[in-house]
Each structure stands twice: as structure tokens, then as C-alpha cells.
């Protein structure tokens, strides 16, 4: 017997951070979450799964288009025709969702209730599925505590939307402990909520399958569902199956590590890295944020006109992969300069070595020093002065720009430090004196 375990579909939630540019593969990005879900259905049919488990967050909380729900039902109908049932619990997003409120559930779709844990027995497969939906967006109680005892003689599955004991970047909803889950005595815990695939335990299996389709740079790497094979009442195999249609892959290149000492060499290093990433994604569209670290001279040249070089890198991506690669955004960073090697002075020399004019006495050096001090300012009081400079901009920007983990918060000291860094490089490059940094 096989079943498929997926979660966090976030159907119709848009991919974030993909700035449109000339030649960007706009059409291939469209409807990515839907197509990933279609892939999930295809997988169930191809593997002749006994049932599909969805561990919450099928819809985005603030998404209002009922068409999304209908799409969901239309796809599940394909499973229904093949006699494959679906079991789901609502996650925090589903609890808040406008879409789920009116969605009629077909007979082959089983939603487990939110008042108390429910158990569904699948006689034909010898399986008991226990689960409880989120009643509200923020469930702070440990739902797993009240899950029933395992049904003897059956393969027991716990279906739960939870952060377990806290996961970085995820709200701490329905917290529970790994030990508590193990102690329940189930055979398989089908979890949802965390977007990164993670296997918390193998006896019993406690699995986060991760989300179905990465939606931002932070959700990089293969995404999909977990295919579980059960033989004689025990888990025989747990496989991760990639179902994503757009794959986020960070392209971090340190040009100095490959000996890139000119802009051309640095760009070539990016080309090589992009080609490698593209080749590894099996024909999927790749969304790649690029970070190019380079030595001072190259870095200065890049920062003198970041827009131009960003376009250049996009052109390289087009050459390398055609419409198979979307350069999400480009960052130019300064590679850490090598430590000065200790002096090997000819001992027979009579020259007395005294320090020459120190860099920081140079006017540029003083500028750099002042900016270092500004960045290092622990309470950020000085940085606060910069906020005023950007106040008009902040007023005009849509609120969404500052939302999310990678939101642009212009009053955030870390952001300001980064901006000061970049402004410094820009000014130095214009003054033709980036080397002092």
C-alpha cells in the first residue's frame, strides 16, 4: 500500500520577488502552484496511491478568489474517479481562508474536524488516520496531546499542522514536542506548516514534506511531496518526490575563489555557476537570486553601475538557458580581502621600517572610517538620522514592500547598514577610489 503526504500547497499564491525584465520567462512562472498541484495528483495516479494526505495550508489565508477552491476540487475529482480518497486538516491559513468557507466537499474528500481530534478507519487498507483541523488562525495549544490512542492492529497515521517545538521563520502554531509525538505510538506523523522538507524521526516516521512549490528565494531547492510505502503494517520506504515547476536556486559566486580578477572573469564565473544550476534542475524553470562576491577592484567596477551589470548578468542567463532561467535579483558583495602576509624582510637590510602615512589619514580613509563608525554604532542613533533622508521615499512606498522576511524596511538598522555599505562603494567608485575600502 502506498500513500502520498503533502502540505502547504498555498494554491494561487504568487511567487515573490521576481522583478520583470525584458526576456524574463513571465509565461512559465504563471500558475506555478497550480501546476505543482497537478503534478501531485499525477503522482498519486501514477503510483496508484491508496489515499492522499494534506497536512494543512492548502489556500493562502488572505486569498479570496473562489476559483482557486474550484480548481482544487476539479483536481481532486481526478483522484475521486480513480477511487483515491483525500484526507486533510486545515492549517492556520485555511482557518482564515475565505475560499474554504463555501467549498462543498465531495464524498471522496474527508476533512477532519476542528472541535476535537477525529479518527477515520480505512478497513480496506488497514489504516487509521487521526487528525484535527485548526479552528482559528492562531492555535497556540498542543493539539497532539488530545489525539486518540492508536487503533490496535491498524497502521496509525497522525495528520497535524504544527511547528513542533518551533521552526525558524515559521509561526509557533500548535506547538508540540518530538518526544510527545513519538510517545503517541503512531506509525507515521504526517505534518505540515514548515516549508522545508524535514524528517524529524524514523521510528516512528515524523515528516514535514515541505511546501509543494517554492514561492520565494528563501524557499530554495527541490520542493514536492512524500511518497510512503507500507508493507505488512510497517513503513517500508519514504521517498521525497520533487513536483515543483519553478525551482528557486541561489547562485552564490565568489569570483576570487576561482581567480577572477577582472569583471569579465567574474561574470564568466557566474555564467559557469548558472549553467551548473540550470543543468541540475531537469528542465524546470529556475528562479535564481545571484550574489556575486568579487575583489575590491572588480567590486568597485560593478558598483559603479549596478544596473548595467545586472542587465548583463540577465543577458548571460538568457544565453545560457533561454527562457529556462529567471534572474530574480542581483547582489554585488565585496569578497573578504586576504590577510596581509607577515613581512619577510631581508634581515641584512639596514632600513628601519616605520609605518608610512596611515590610510586613515587620507581624506578617503577618513570617510571610510567615519562610515565604519556609523555602521558600528551600537544603538543606531546615528543611523536614525539617515531614516529622515529616506522619509519621503518611505511615505510613497506601498506597505507590501516592507512585508515578509525579505521585506525592505528602510528604518531597520540592518537594512540601513547594508545601504550605507552600498552607498560607500558607490561613492568610492565614483571618486575612483574604491580601493581604500
Amino acid at each position: 500500500m502506498k500513500f502520498v503526504h503533502a502540505s502547504d500547497l498555498h494554491l494561487d499564491s504568487p511567487l515573490r520577488g521576481l522583478e520583470r525584465y525584458e526576456g524574463a520567462p513571465v509565461d512559465r512562472v504563471r500558475g506555478a502552484t497550480r501546476r505543482a498541484f497537478e503534478n501531485l495528483i499525477d503522482l498519486c495516479l501514477a503510483e496508484e496511491a491508496a489515499f492522499l494526505l494534506l497536512a494543512g495550508d492548502i489556500f493562502d489565508g488572505d486569498w479570496k478568489d473562489y476559483g482557486t477552491g474550484l480548481f482544487f476540487l476539479a483536481q481532486l475529482a481526478r483522484l475521486g474517479k480513480a477511487g483515491i480518497a483525500t484526507y486533510l486538516v486545515r492549517g492556520n491559513h485555511d482557518a482564515a481562508s475565505q475560499v474554504t468557507r463555501y467549498l462543498p466537499l465531495p464524498a471522496h474528500l474527508h476533512e477532519l474536524g476542528s472541535r476535537h481530534p477525529e479518527t477515520r478507519i480505512l478497513e480496506a487498507h488497514g489504516v487509521a488516520i487521526h487528525g484535527q483541523s485548526f479552528a482559528t488562525r492562531a492555535v497556540t495549544a498542543d493539539l497532539a496531546v488530545d489525539y486518540p490512542h492508536p487503533v490496535r492492529g491498524l497502521f496509525n497515521i497522525g495528520l497535524l499542522h504544527t511547528s513542533v517545538d518551533g521552526r525558524v521563520g515559521h509561526e509557533p502554531y500548535a506547538p508540540c514536542s518530538r518526544a510527545g509525538l513519538i510517545a503517541k505510538g503512531y506509525d507515521y506523523w504526517a505534518l505540515g506548516h514548515v516549508h522545508t522538507r524535514e524528517v524529524l524521526a524514523r521510528d516512528p516516521w515524523i515528516v514535514f514534506p515541505g511546501n509543494l512549490q517554492g514561492r520565494q528565494a528563501r524557499e530554495a531547492g527541490p520542493k514536492g511531496a512524500t511518497l510512503v510505502t507500507v508493507k505488512e503494517g510497517r513503513v517500508a520506504a519514504v521517498e521525497a518526490r520533487a513536483l515543483d515547476v519553478v525551482r528557486w536556486m541561489s547562485c552564490d559566486v565568489d569570483a576570487t575563489s576561482v581567480g577572477g580578477t577582472t569583471v569579465d572573469e567574474a561574470l564568466e564565473a557566474v555564467r559557469v555557476a548558472l549553467a551548473r544550476i540550470f543543468a541540475g534542475c531537469e528542465g524546470r524553470l529556475v528562479a535564481a537570486p545571484i550574489t556575486l562576491r568579487a575583489g575590491a577592484l572588480v567590486h568597485r567596477a560593478l558598483l559603479a553601475d549596478p544596473g548595467k551589470w545586472t542587465q548583463h548578468l540577465r543577458a548571460i542567463a538568457l544565453e545560457e538557458a533561454g527562457d529556462g532561467l529567471w534572474v530574480e535579483r542581483v547582489r554585488f558583495e565585496l569578497a573578504m580581502p586576504d590577510e596581509e602576509p607577515p613581512a619577510r624582510w631581508n634581515p641584512s637590510s639596514e632600513l628601519t621600517v616605520t609605518e608610512g602615512p596611515a590610510v586613515d589619514e587620507d581624506v578617503i580613509g577618513q570617510f571610510v572610517k567615519a562610515l565604519r563608525a556609523l555602521r558600528a554604532d551600537p544603538d543606531g542613533a546615528e543611523l536614525g538620522g539617515l531614516v529622515e533622508e529616506l522619509s519621503e521615499l518611505r511615505r510613497k512606498l506601498p506597505g507590501e514592500v516592507s512585508e515578509g522576511d525579505d521585506g525592505l524596511r528602510l528604518d531597520d538598522p540592518a537594512t540601513l547598514r547594508q545601504l550605507v555599505d552600498e552607498a560607500e562603494a558607490l561613492v568610492l567608485s565614483r571618486l575612483g577610489r574604491g580601493d581604500a575600502a
Partner: protein
């Protein structure tokens, strides 16, 4: 610090070098030493790239030293004098970790940087902070420009009040996408409402449809009843009539017709019977009247037809018989004659005719063919023998010729040689052409050398050989161009200077003329005159006061001294007069000054002009001297350029033309060289060919070689000899081939002759065999055999003809016997009266009698046939009459009547009953057909009691109701359609317009983010840089401005005495220069030169301040920064630099001798070191 024996510390080091002297190279060498030699250096003109080295001794302030060598390369390029690799770190630390760029910006200054720095001061409008920062930054980057650029870029992205900037566009696009997303989102609630509405609409529609169906059913029934009503009434009427008719006998429908048919038939039969009885009686009487002989009815009469034919044949045969007997006798006689000829005397009857005529056709044909063959065989044998004789003769002739032929010789090598020589063409003609070309080129070269103006004798001795000319190296065109350009520039400048001087002198004369005119109009009053008059007045007043005090101590001090002149004595009066006079004069001077203010101004202006013109004339003079010096040097260089060639150079244009001609001569020389080589090669070829040919033909007999013979003639001779040998050899070969062929032919001819003989012998044997049956001897000729054969054939033919005649005679006799027999038989049967008469006559009579009796017999037969037919007709009529009677009887029995009238009445009643029954059936069928499937009974029940009027009313009512319901149902249906369409739109699972819009919105959001970052980066860049500039100003303004003030005063020879930080209209701190009269001038009010000096002052002040705060100072390297300073200020600048050099090493590169002169004049020898770079 960079000290060696050449460049001492503590002094101003001026390095002088003309153009190309290596000044720039020396500058690059310093940078190369400190920071490495660039990969693509241009300095490898004397040494290989890999051999490039820069060496130096570094000395620290405390006097410690180290010697370094920098080699060209990529790694480990810093070495000690022994070639050991040194660490770069120490050098980096000495240079304060500055890169080459920093070093150049801070410690190097050339003229362009100085100009750029001054321009940047102007661009920043003398902003104090920016000016100081600019000077500290060095490199002339233009801090103001950088700030403006960044601000401009930021503004292009976003401004608080703008709305067409990139960021605004992106925000607007984002907002639009969000709106689109909200518009496209389909709400679940709406879906539910829509679904409910659809269900309700469907239910309503169903209710209406049901009502409609019921009413339509009722309408249908009423309409049926209305339709059936008249049919039911008609049926009732038919039934009434059937009732009235009672129960009649039903007859077949054709009973009437049957009755009428039987009556007609009975009548016709009766009339036929009457007519036939009469006819039969009349015909029988006609038969009885005919007479016919009885024997004509005998069957034997049939044989008379055959008898007629046989009688004719019998008479004809009896006539032919005697002729045939005669012919037979004649044939027998001819046969005997032929046999006699064949066998000499024997008769045909005695000889066995068959033996002769039986000789088979095959045997005769064989004799014939053998006879023909004989001639052919005899001819074949004769031909074969003649051919053999011919061949023998030819063989003997050929053998004779072969024996007479000379032996064979090999001409191959000679022919190959000739072919090779031919391939090379007419060698001697080629040689002649080349030698002519050589002579022509030689003469041409000679002419050109002469025209180049080179000495003729030398030309013949030294230049005649092209290689010598080619060995000469004339100056490169670039050098000539350079000199030409320099000389041209100098000439132009000289010309301009002369014009300038002339103009100045004209101006000077003009000014002098104006001055003289002014002077002619009287002395020009001046401030000095007024001041002098006023001084005189004051003196007079003082004297007056002094005198008054002594003479009249009691006098009222307030009283007017002039009011009492007499009381003071004569001195007093004189003094008063003198005072009055001085007052008058002072007033007059002042008045004149006022009155003649124009003249005063003109005079002052003329004076200024005069001085300025004088200065300009002096300047121009010194420039002209300078030009003269440079012109001299250039001329020397020009001559030196040509000295190696021993040519006196003319003008640059002439020498360019000369160079061109020289180039052409060189080209000619190269061609001559080539042609000479070609001539030598050709001569060698001719000689070699001649030697080879001579030795090849030497041994050929009969060939005489004349040594003076041309190569072509020699070739022709040799070729002729070779050709003759070649012809003989080929003739011999042909003969040999023919001999062999002849031998083969002879063998073939011999075989043919033998074969012919054998064939003839074989023929003879066959011939003997073939003619034996003819009774001829074996030696008989073919002609004899032919004759025998012909006779035999004629005998055979006659025998055949004789046999045929005998067969015909036998046939005639047999036919006559048979005829007689037959006649006798007929006579016995038919006409016994003719027995005993000759058969032929009897036959004749019988036939006559038959012809006469036959017509009567024919007529009787025809009457018999007619009688028979009429009796048959009589029987048929009797039968028809009886049948008609029977049918009438049967009809009456069926109608149960006794007579014909009764029968007719019964027929009428039966027909009426049938028709009524038919109508009843028809009407009931119609009823059932229109009763929509009901049975007749059900339909009659349904209709029973209905009235047409009631039905019509009910039907109208129902129709109205149906129409109304129909409209309602249509409306309900439309409603279902529209609600359903709305629901389908909501339910389209593929529709993702909202999601697509969300995707688009995210794209715009990402762009907004990137643009915001770009904007923030620039905005903060401007802010932070401005902040730093301000900080720097606050920190350094005081000391740097103080020091720069002092330096500016010295650099401008106290024209400007200092610098102040002031404020402009916008309260920005700006720099102002203070003139000697303490007036203030802003940076844009300064002349270009003064601005250069201001920037230099700021740079030097900044450098001094920087080196105060650091340890080991770096040297200051200056590259011709003073070229735009006038002599006085350049001298001042040199003094300032010399003073600066006391703190650090200062190296000034220049290619202007003027600067060196000035330095020598201005700076004490102890503080100056001049180095000259030799080119």
C-alpha cells in the same frame, strides 16, 4: 627619500628634458618601482620586456637605506641587488598601503590635474568644504560633479513631488495590478448565492412546465372530440339506411354483367349456325364436279421428278462415248513412242514402265543438286590454288626488303632532352629580353641617382650597385614629418609674433599720438596737482596761523582773521595774500580736476595702455628670442637627420619629395637586382642546354655541328636526325609484323586448297551412286543424267492421262444400265401399257402424261381443305349456344328467381346493400384514424353527449391559458440560462485571472524594491559624502586656510593677501580671496591662472598638514605644472616648492628651459638641484 647621487634630499629637484628625452619614462619608472611595471608597458624599446628593471635606493628619515630592484613580471618582482625576492609588504607599509592610484592622486600633480582641480573649484563655486575636500582628494576628480551626478540619478528614480519617475511608474503599475487582482477574485459567497438562484429558477421552471403539459393534454382531447363529431353523425345516417333495406339476397358485384354477357353470347351463336349450313352445301357440289386420273394418286409418281433429270444425263453420255474411245487410242500410241526413245526400240508394252517412272522424287532431286554442286566445287579448288601462289610471291618480296634494312638505334634520351629544352621555351630570346630590361633599369637607376642630386662620380663608383643603394637608410618619414611639423609650427608662430609685434607697435604709436594730442591741449590735471595745491594751502594756512598767534595774542580767536588785515602788519597781509592765493589755486586745481575729469580719465587710461603695450612688446620679444633658439635647434636636428646620407637637406617639402624619389630609386634598385639575378639564371640555362645537346648528337652519323649555330638551329638539327631514325625503326617494325601475318595467311590458304580437293572427290563418289538408278554409267556427265530425267517425267504424265480416259468410259456404261432398270420399274407400276418400249421413249411418254393430269388434282385438294374448316366452325357455334343457356340458369337459381326480370330486380337490391356497408366501414375507419389510438368504441363513448359549441368555448379558454404558461416558462428558462452562465463563469476551474494579476503585482513589487534600493543608495551616498565634506571642513578649515592664505600671497606676489571663509547669498560657506586692498573676490572672479595658483596653494597646504600628522612623508612629484604661470609667478611658485622641499622630497619634471632658467635665477643654489635628461 628617493635619493641617490643624482637627486639630493632637502632641495627642489628640477628634472629637465626635452621632448622624447625620457621624462615621462622617468615618471613611469617611479610608479613602476613602487607598484610594479604594468603588463603592457610601452617602455620596452631598448630592452626586452623580460629584461626591464628599475632600481632605487630608499632612505628613511633617520638615514637608514635599502636598495631595491623591480623587475617586469607577474609574481615576485621585487628583488634585492643580488636578485633575491623581497616582500612587497614593507614597500606597501612605507607607502601607507596606498595603491598606485592613491599615490598618483595625492603625491603626483601634473598640469592637467592642476587645471582640473581649479575647474572643480569653479564648478563648486568655491564652496569651502568641497574646495578643501577636492584639494585633499587630489586627482582633480571634481567632488561637486560627483555629488551632482548622484543627485541627478536619484532624482531620475524618485522625487517627493514628481510623478513621472521610474519608481512612481512602478508604484502605479503595482496599484493597478492589485486592483485587477481584487476585481478578478471570485467570492465564495457569490458562488453560493448564484447556485441557489439557479436551483430555484430550475424548480420554478419545472412547475410551469408541468401545468403546461396538463393543459396541452386537455386541449388535445377536446380538439379530438371536436374533430370526431361530424364523422359520428354520418355513421349514424348510414346505419339508418341499412336498417331500412332489410335483408336482401346478396349477389356478386358483376352479376348484372354476367347476365348481359350470357344473353349476347346466345344470340351470336344462333346466327352463326344458320350461315354455316348454307355454305357447306354449296362447296360440296363444286367438288363433285371435278375429274382426276387415278394413277396420279400412286406414291410412285414421286419418282418421276428424278426421272426427268436422269433422262437428260443418259442422252448426253450416249453422245460423249465414241469421242473418249478415240482419245484413249491416241494416248497409247504416244506412250509407246516415248518408251521406245528411252530404251531404244522397245515398246511401251514390253518394258517395265513403272521401273522408269517409279524413280523417286528424292532421288531425282539429289541428282539435280549434285549436278549444280559440281561447278561450285571445281571453282573453289581453282581459287584456293591461285591465292596460295600470290602469298608465296609477297613473302619472298618482304624477306628481301627486311634483309636490306639497317640496324636499329635508341633515340629516347635525345628526344627527352629536346622536349625539356622545348619546354623551357626560347631560352636565348628570354635571355635577350631580360638583358635588355637589365640594361634599361641600370640606365634608369643611373638617371634617378643623378636626379637625386648625388654626386655623379660617386654614383658610378659607389652607387651603381643596387645593393649599396639599398644598404642606405634614409630618415624615417615620421622623423621628417615631426621636424617638418616643428619647423612649420615655429615658422607660423614666428610669423604670428611678427604680426603681433607690428600690431603692438601700431597700437603704441596710436597711444603716443593720443598722448601728444592730450598734452597739446595743456597740462592734464591730476590728483597729484590737487594734492600739491592743497598741501600748499595747508602750509599757507599754517604759516598764517603761526604769524597771527605771535602778533595778536589777545585777539578774539573766533574773529575772522581776514577781517582785520591792517591790524596785523604787512607780514600778516602778505601771508593772508599768500594764503588766499593758495586757496585760490587749490580750488582752481580741484575745479579743473572736476571740470577736466574726461581728460584726466583719458590720460590715466592712456598711461595704462602705454604700460600694457610696453609689457606686451617685451613679452613678444622674449618669445621671439625663444622661438629663434628653438628654430636653431630644430634646424641643427634637421641637418643632422640627413648627415648620414651626405645630402644637404632642403625644405621639408623638398626633402619629402626627395624621400619619395629615393624610395622610387630604391624600388628600381630592388627591381634591377631581381632582373640581374634573372639574367644570370637565363644565361646558365642556355649554356647548360647547348652543352647537353652537343654531347647528345655528337655520335649521330651524318650530323655536322657548327659551334656558332644558335640553340634553336641546334635543336632543329638534332630533332631532324632523331626523326629519320625514328621513321626507319618504325618501318622495320611494320615489316616484321606483316611477315608474321603473311605466314599465318599462307597456312590458311594451304588448308583451303586441300579442303577443296577433298570436297570434289567426295562429290564424285556421291554422283556415281546417284545416277546408277537411271541406268547410266558412273562416268556419265551431268548433262546426260539431266536428259534421262526429262524423258522419264514425260512418260509418267502420259500414263496418267490414259488411265483417266478409261475411268470415264467405265462410269458412262454403269449409269446407262441403272437408268434403264429404273424406267422399266416405273412402267410396270404406272403405265403397263408402255411395257416393251425403249426405256428412253417410255420415260418420255410417262412424263408427258403426268404434266397433263396434275392441275385438276390440285383444285380438288384445295376444296377439301375449305370444307374441313367450315365444319369446325359449325361445331364451335353449337357449343357456345349451350354454354350461354347454362349461365343464365345458374344466375336465376342464385337470385332465387324464375325469370329474367326477377333476376334484374334482385341485382339492384344487392348492389344498394353493398354500397351502404362500404360507406359504414369507410366512416368507421376515418373515425378510428382520427381518434389518436382510441378504439372505435372508446372514441364513440368519448364523443357521446358532446356539443360543438361547448367544445369551441372550452378549446379557446385552454389555448389562452397555454399561451400564458408558455411565456412564463420561456422567461424562467432565460433566467436559468443567465444564472447558469454566471455560475459557469464562477466555476471555471481553469480561470486564474486573479492569480495572474497577483503574480504581475509581485513582479512590480520586486521592481519597486530594487528601484527603492537604487534610490536609497544614491540618496545616502550624497548625504554621507556631504556630511563628510562638512566634517572635513570643520576640522581642517582653520589651519589649512591659514597656510593656504600664506602660500597664495606668495604665489600671487602679494596681489592676493589671503583667503577667507565667507557666506554666499544662500548662507553657504564659500571661499573668497582677499586682494591687497582688502577687497574680496569669489572664485569665479579670479583669472584662470590665479585659480590654478589657489588650487596649488590649497593642495600644498593640505599636503603639509597631512605630513605633519604622519611619519614618513612621501615625495611630491610634479609634472610641468608651471607652464601657464607667467615668469614672475612661476618664479614665486618655484620658491614655494623649494620651501616645501625642505620638508619632503619634491621632484619637478619640466621640458621648458624657461622653468630651469627661472629656477636658477630664483632659488639659491643650495636649495636647487637641476638634472638634465639626455634624449
Amino acid at each position: 627619500m628617493f635619493a641617490g647621487d643624482g637627486i639630493p634630499t632637502g632641495t627642489l629637484n628640477v628634472v629637465y628634458g626635452a621632448n622624447e628625452a625620457g621624462k615621462s619614462t622617468a615618471l613611469r619608472a617611479v610608479a613602476g618601482l613602487l607598484f610594479g611595471i604594468p603588463t603592457h608597458t610601452t617602455d620596452a624599446h631598448q630592452h626586452q620586456m623580460s629584461d626591464l628593471r628599475v632600481g632605487a635606493v630608499l632612505e628613511a628619515t633617520d638615514g637608514s637605506r635599502v636598495e631595491l630592484v623591480r623587475r617586469k613580471g607577474k609574481k615576485n618582482t621585487l628583488l634585492d641587488p643580488e636578485g633575491n625576492v623581497l616582500d612587497e609588504g614593507l614597500l606597501r607599509r612605507i607607502c601607507g598601503h596606498a595603491t598606485e592610484e592613491t599615490f598618483r592622486a595625492l603625491f603626483g600633480l601634473d598640469h592637467e590635474s592642476l587645471r582640473a582641480g581649479a575647474e572643480a573649484l569653479l564648478a563648486g563655486q568655491g564652496h569651502v568644504g568641497e574646495s578643501l575636500f577636492e584639494a585633499a582628494l587630489g586627482g582633480g576628480r571634481g567632488i561637486h560633479r560627483v555629488l551632482q551626478e548622484l543627485e541627478g540619478e536619484a532624482d531620475a528614480l524618485f522625487t517627493a513631488k514628481g510623478h513621472k519617475r521610474k519608481l512612481h511608474d512602478a508604484i502605479q503599475a503595482y496599484t493597478e495590478a492589485r486592483t485587477e487582482m481584487r476585481l478578478r477574485a471570485r467570492s465564495g459567497e457569490a458562488w453560493q448565492t448564484q447556485r441557489r438562484a439557479l436551483e430555484e429558477a430550475k424548480a420554478g421552471h419545472e412547475r410551469l412546465a408541468e401545468g403546461l403539459r396538463a393543459r396541452k393534454r386537455a386541449l388535445h382531447r377536446l380538439e379530438r372530440i371536436r374533430r370526431l363529431l361530424p364523422l359520428v353523425a354520418r355513421r349514424a345516417r348510414v346505419l339508418e339506411r341499412i336498417e331500412a333495406l332489410g335483408d336482401p339476397v346478396l349477389l356478386p358485384a358483376d352479376a348484372g354483367k354476367s347476365r348481359e354477357g350470357a344473353l349476347t353470347e346466345r344470340q351470336l351463336a344462333a346466327s352463326d349456325l344458320a350461315r354455316l349450313a348454307g355454305e357447306l352445301a354449296e362447296i360440296s357440289a363444286r367438288r363433285d364436279a371435278l375429274s382426276v386420273p387415278a394413277w396420279l394418286d400412286d406414291p410412285a409418281v414421286a419418282r418421276l421428278i428424278d426421272l426427268q433429270d436422269r433422262l437428260g444425263a443418259h442422252r448426253k453420255a450416249a453422245q460423249d462415248r465414241p469421242g473418249l474411245l478415240g482419245a484413249l487410242a491416241a494416248h497409247e500410241a504416244e506412250l509407246d513412242a516415248l518408251a521406245t526413245r528411252l530404251r531404244g526400240g522397245r515398246t511401251a508394252h514390253d518394258s517395265p514402265r513403272l521401273a522408269l517412272t517409279g524413280l523417286g522424287i528424292a532421288a531425282r532431286a539429289r541428282v539435280r543438286s549434285l549436278s549444280l554442286l559440281e561447278a561450285a566445287l571445281v571453282q573453289r579448288g581453282a581459287l584456293a590454288r591461285r591465292a596460295l601462289d600470290d602469298l608465296e610471291l609477297r613473302h619472298r618480296a618482304m624477306a628481301g626488303e627486311l634483309e636490306a634494312m639497317p640496324p636499329v638505334e635508341d633515340t629516347g634520351p635525345l628526344l627527352r632532352l629536346l622536349r625539356r629544352v622545348e619546354r623551357e621555351g626560347d631560352l636565348e630570346a628570354h635571355l635577350e629580353t631580360v638583358e635588355k630590361e637589365q640594361a634599361r633599369l641600370d640606365a634608369e637607376l643611373e638617371r634617378r641617382l643623378t636626379s637625386l642630386g648625388l654626386d655623379g662620380t660617386r654614383a658610378s663608383d659607389d652607387w651603381s650597385k643596387p645593393e649599396r643603394l639599398l644598404a642606405l637608410s634614409p630618415p624615417p618619414a615620421e622623423s621628417v614629418d615631426r621636424f617638418a611639423s616643428e619647423l612649420q609650427t615655429l615658422a607660423v608662430r614666428e610669423e604670428r609674433l611678427v604680426e603681433e609685434l607690428a600690431a603692438l607697435h601700431r597700437k603704441q604709436r596710436g597711444v603716443d599720438r593720443k598722448w601728444a594730442e592730450l598734452a597739446r591741449a595743456g597740462e592734464v590735471p591730476s590728483l597729484a596737482t590737487v594734492a600739491q595745491a592743497r598741501t600748499a594751502r595747508a602750509d599757507a594756512w599754517a604759516r598764517l596761523i603761526g604769524a597771527g598767534a605771535g602778533a595778536d595774542a589777545d585777539a578774539d580767536a573766533d574773529a575772522d582773521p581776514a577781517s582785520r588785515p591792517a591790524e596785523r602788519g604787512p607780514h600778516w597781509s602778505n601771508r593772508i595774500a599768500a594764503f588766499e592765493e593758495s586757496v585760490l589755486r587749490a580750488d582752481q586745481a580741484a575745479d579743473r580736476l572736476l571740470r577736466e575729469a574726461d581728460r584726466v580719465a583719458s590720460a590715466a587710461s592712456l598711461e595704462v595702455d602705454r604700460r600694457e603695450i610696453a609689457r606686451l612688446i617685451a613679452d613678444a620679444g622674449s618669445q621671439r628670442e625663444d622661438l629663434g633658439r628653438r628654430g636653431g635647434a630644430a634646424n641643427l636636428g634637421w641637418k643632422a637627420l640627413w648627415s648620414g646620407l651626405g645630402v644637404k637637406p632642403g625644405s621639408a617639402d623638398d626633402m619629402r619629395a626627395w624621400l619619395r624619389r629615393f624610395g622610387e630609386a630604391s624600388e628600381l634598385a630592388r627591381r634591377l637586382e631581381g632582373v640581374s639575378l634573372e639574367a644570370t639564371r637565363r644565361r646558365d640555362q642556355v649554356r647548360r642546354a647547348r652543352v647537353e645537346l652537343t654531347s647528345a648528337v655528337r655520335d649521330l652519323p651524318g650530323l655536322v655541328i657548327d659551334p656558332a649555330m644558335s640553340l634553336i638551329a641546334l635543336c632543329e638539327r638534332a630533332a631532324g636526325a632523331a626523326q629519320a631514325r625514328e621513321t626507319a625503326a618504325s618501318r622495320r617494325a611494320a615489316l616484321l609484323r606483316e611477315t608474321v601475318a603473311l605466314a599465318e595467311e599462307r597456312a590458311r590458304a594451304t588448308r583451303e586448297s586441300a579442303d577443296a580437293e577433298a570436297a570434289l572427290a567426295a562429290w564424285r563418289s556421291s554422283w556415281a551412286e546417284a545416277i546408277a538408278p537411271l541406268g547410266l554409267a558412273s562416268g556419265a556427265s551431268t548433262a546426260e543424267a539431266e536428259a534421262v530425267l526429262e524423258l522419264t517425267a514425260a512418260l509418267g504424265r502420259k500414263q496418267e492421262e490414259s488411265a483417266e480416259i478409261k475411268r470415264r468410259l467405265q462410269g458412262i456404261d454403269r449409269d446407262a444400265a441403272q437408268f434403264q432398270e429404273s424406267v422399266r420399274g416405273l412402267v410396270a407400276v404406272l403405265t403397263p401399257d408402255l411395257a416393251g418400249q425403249p426405256e428412253a421413249d417410255a420415260a418420255e411418254i410417262i412424263l408427258q402424261r403426268h404434266r397433263e393430269g396434275m392441275p385438276a388434282r390440285q383444285t380438288r385438294a384445295e376444296i377439301d381443305l375449305d370444307l374441313q374448316r367450315r365444319r369446325q366452325a359449325q361445331r364451335a357455334a353449337e357449343s357456345a349456344h349451350a354454354s350461354a343457356e347454362d349461365r343464365l340458369g345458374a344466375l336465376m337459381r342464385a337470385a332465387r328467381v324464375m325469370d329474367l326480370p326477377g333476376l334484374e330486380q334482385a341485382e339492384r337490391r344487392s348492389a344498394e346493400s353493398s354500397e351502404l356497408q362500404h360507406k359504414l366501414r369507410e366512416s368507421e375507419d376515418q373515425l378510428v384514424g382520427l381518434a389518436d389510438g382510441l378504439t372505435l368504441e372508446a372514441a364513440l363513448r368519448d364523443v357521446a353527449g358532446a356539443s360543438a359549441e361547448d367544445l369551441d368555448d372550452q378549446i379557446d379558454l385552454l389555448r389562452e391559458e397555454i399561451e400564458e404558461l408558455d411565456r412564463d416558462a420561456q422567461r424562467a428558462n432565460q433566467s436559468i440560462g443567465s444564472v447558469g452562465a454566471g455560475l459557469r463563469l464562477l466555476e471555471d476551474p481553469g480561470g486564474a485571472a486573479a492569480a495572474d494579476a497577483a503574480e504581475v503585482a509581485q513582479g512590480h513589487l520586486a521592481r519597486i524594491r530594487e528601484l527603492a534600493i537604487e534610490y536609497a543608495r544614491r540618496r545616502l551616498g550624497v548625504h554621507l559624502l556631504a556630511r563628510e565634506i562638512e566634517r572635513y571642513r570643520e576640522q581642517h578649515q582653520g589651519p589649512v586656510l591659514e597656510r593656504a592664505s600664506a602660500l597664495l600671497a606668495r604665489l600671487t606676489l602679494d596681489r592676493y593677501v589671503g583667503l577667507r571663509a565667507d557666506f554666499d547669498d544662500g548662507d553657504r560657506p564659500i571661499l573668497r580671496c582677499i586682494r591687497a586692498d582688502l577687497s574680496k573676490v569669489s572664485v569665479d572672479g579670479l583669472s584662470d591662472g590665479t585659480r590654478d595658483q589657489l588650487y596649488l596653494a590649497l593642495r600644498l597646504a593640505t599636503l603639509e598638514r597631512q605630513s605633519e600628522s604622519t611619519g614618513e612623508p612621501l615625495p611630491l612629484i610634479l609634472d610641468d605644472i608651471l607652464i601657464h604661470f607667467d615668469d614672475e609667478r612661476a618664479g614665486a611658485a618655484l620658491a614655494v616648492l623649494a620651501a616645501h622641499a625642505r620638508g619632503t622630497q619634491v621632484i619637478l619634471f619640466t621640458h621648458h628651459a624657461r622653468i630651469v632658467d627661472l629656477a636658477e635665477r630664483t632659488i639659491s643654489p643650495g636649495s636647487l638641484r637641476i638634472s638634465r635628461l639626455e634624449g
